[in-house]
Symmetry: C2
Subunit: 242 residues, 2 copies
DNA sequence: TTGACATATATGTCTAGACATATAATCGTG
DNA sequence: CACGATTATATGTCTAGACATATATGTCAA
């Protein structure tokens, strides 16, 4: 967004219109509630057809920057909430991205018929078979996170034969299961004795907990709990809106 | 999204096309890398003009569900990372949304020239004036979170005279400062004595920490640290992509 | 004053074309 | 066979219209 780029670049017209409006909103020149020019006014100003300005405005509406109301016009939206895009990468990718050596160790893997607790955790009603996995991720041989996972075999039968001693279940699922939806819950706990030992931290030390529940089209796939040493790990999220 | 709605509703054509394709991707029928039909094929299938299918495909591309390549076609994108939309609402809104009574209490407010520590925290180089605020939010008279905030007065001069005893700084900023960008860092700590007292929890209890740094067009606005009792508070994020 | 109705208007969607542009595939040449 | 030039093609953008639809606003009657 340098000044030079503004004159040197030759973006397409609708992108220029979109960028012009976005800029006025972002700088506060057009505050929330302000009505932006009507489509026919923008047509005149930019000397183009309505479809072109419509495309620009539609994208701004899709990005929640403006709100469009029939007969009334288009208005700058009031920021409604802080929404952040939290990138929770595959742990291996996360570690290697930091330039550290990734280590993985399977602690245990058990195939069993779903217990009542398993069904509750996966949010399914009828019993089926599941795989329960516990493993540990490390960076430069220092414990990074411990993972406790349950996979629903009625949704992902191939997981019964996958070699989780070689490949972490997260990576395996990422490459074997198509688009999914997920829900994350982030909380904090203090390490109990078992956790402290696994993460090589003191009992009572803070831990960041991520519980992720993943499904695809109403079918449960997996539930996982990740425990990170709380003082060394950070989740970073960058955002839009405010 | 009931079955009845599927037949009863009469969405516009481009939305139907978009939904049809999205469904095939989400169910895995069209796996990552799969080439979706060309625009002219979709024109024939739906009996419409190219602009209509183009609008559907453009929106899917904007949502990162497909990737479009000239001359080659459009392809289902490989899930690249777990990205989650984390809604970090205004705390007052968050509490009232839960049907609980919101309480707010200003602990202290100090106007001062930025110290070296302040400049570091705000990420600015030259000194200026800042407001430092400490306050506490409660739900049904139970401590919910403590807030420690710094506002850069050279960016938001009106903050010098705002009445933060009446209105929480988060709400005030949300309504007085236009669109901003932010970066969040989430971590866990254990409560020290001061924190424990403020949150009415035991020393050594886990706390969830959210550090938020907010700016607008390269201008720093505010830096805030929020501390929540870790065992009672949860951040929930729902998502896309897997 | 209020409520029912008519009207004007801005956006929502769509068409049947057009030219531009990036690039996969093909062809030709050394 | 390797490599550069050509061509075909799918997407990217745009036009000048059209009709649909929701709704703000004004009008008129109870």
């Amino acid at each position: 967004m340098s000044l030079a780029a503004d004159t040197a670049e030759k973006p397409t017209l609708y992108k220029r219109i979109r960028a012009d409006i976005e800029k006025r909103i972002l700088t506060g020149e057009w505050p929330p509630g302000h009505r932006i020019p009507f489509e026919h006014q923008l047509m005149a100003r930019y000397g183009c057809s309505r479809m072109t300005v419509n495309k620009a405005l539609s994208e701004l509406a899709q990005a929640d920057l403006i709100e469009r109301r029939r007969r009334a016009g288009s208005f700058v939206r009031r920021p409604q909430h802080m929404s952040a895009v939290l990138k929770i990468a595959d742990i291996r990718a996360e570690i290697t991205a930091l330039g550290r050596t990734y280590g993985y160790e399977l602690i245990h893997r058990k195939l069993r018929a779903a217990t009542a607790a398993d069904r509750d955790r996966l949010g399914v009603k009828k019993a089926g078979r599941v795989v329960a996995i516990a493993c540990r991720h490390s960076a430069d041989n220092v414990p990074f996170a411990v993972e406790d996972r349950l996979i629903d075999l009625s949704s992902v039968p191939e997981a019964a034969t996958a070699d989780f001693a070689r490949e972490p279940p997260g990576s395996w699922l990422l490459h074997h299961v198509p688009w999914t939806e997920a829900e994350h819950t982030i909380s904090a706990i203090v390490a109990d004795e078992r956790t402290a030992e696994a993460l090589d931290i003191a009992v009572g030390a803070p831990c960041l907990v991520i519980d992720r529940y993943t499904w695809r089209s109403a079918r449960t796939i997996t539930a996982v709990r990740l425990l990170y040493p709380g003082d060394s790990h950070r989740l970073v999220a960058r955002f839009e809106g405010g």
